[in-house]
Point group: C2
């Protein structure tokens, strides 16, 4: 299968980067074709300009590449820290610019308000969202309500992704090396279970 | 009072820009000092770099200016379209870079996971979030669950804002000029009611 892995963290030495690397290696070991994007490293510009909003508008090369990849992907892995119950801006902008009308979804005629529900264009069946957090689970549930679950489920289902799985690793800031190693093993196991080796590619 | 108005929309001719202008003019008419930022026009960079994450790190001039303004603000008006249940990336990045530890909140000692609840640093009492949407209200409630309400309430209360009001204007794409004029009048009325003339400044 073709699996896109998208990482959004400012530091190349972050635990998020280690999670993404663990996901990529597990996918490759299972024989998948991986499109890996470290959005910070590739200096992805998350600011959607007005000229890109109309469907079918001419896209910069990097955005066009992201769009082509997500259309062809069979699976998706997103890795990011929880910043204010949302992804970092660089990943929010990846959503704004890449999951665009005519690429990730479409309308039968006219906009949703006028014409009803969107047509889902992505063929991705399963997405896995891997998050890190420094907020305790009880406080997250009681006070904050875990907005990330809703945001990713809404966004990806809108585009046709059927199954959105999510795992939150916490608390990062006080974690031990041993705990981190266990989390990375968990990442490899989850990725491998969701994206097992293709029968035909073996 | 000092009121910050933050606009996030790619087009200077957008209805969001008209809403922001209506808010600014109502605030000025009431005698308030307005700090207005059109994030797209000022080419705000929403990508938080690793070197800015530590508390007390040296900030670029524009970020420092935003931080100084939000610390001194008595009120806040945010204007943005609903993109995927979240603000546009440029405004998410304003949150990531401006509402920072040591400016908008702090911890007694160490991070939240270790040391408990944040200290709220902003003196803003009231924030008003003005949104536009092309999704019908019933579908928003039933399918999407209005994540914006939770995101802004969580984020701003975390920093000490006591009252977070929000209004959603919809459906923009099929609206008439007359409807839009009524919405702008609604904006002026809401802004004026939340931020009436200061007694001492009259």
């Amino acid at each position: 299968m073709r699996i896109s892995v998208i990482l959004a963290h400012p530091s190349a030495e972050s635990f998020n980067a280690a999670i993404a690397a663990a996901a990529v290696s597990a996918l490759k070991r299972n024989g998948h074709r991986v499109c890996f994007h470290d959005l910070y490293r590739e200096r992805f510009d998350p600011v959607l300009p007005a000229r890109e909003i109309p469907k079918g508008s001419r896209l910069p090369a990097l955005i066009g590449k992201h769009c082509a990849e997500i259309v062809r992907a069979d699976g998706l892995v997103l890795v990011h820290p929880n910043w204010w119950g949302e992804p970092p801006a660089i990943l929010k902008g990846w959503v704004d610019r890449v999951l665009r009308a005519g690429v990730a979804y479409d309308f039968p005629d006219g906009p949703e308000g006028a014409a009803g529900l969107p047509i889902k264009l992505l063929k991705i069946k399963t997405a896995l969202v891997l998050n890190t957090s420094d907020t305790a689970a009880a406080r997250e549930r009681r006070v904050l309500g875990d907005p990330l679950q809703r945001l990713w489920t809404n966004t990806l289902r809108y585009c046709g992704v059927r199954s959105v799985r999510r795992t939150m690793y916490r608390i990062i800031v006080t974690s031990t090396l041993r705990q981190r190693a266990a989390w990375l093993a968990d990442t490899r196991a989850r990725v491998s279970a969701l994206f097992p080796p293709d029968k035909k590619s073996r």
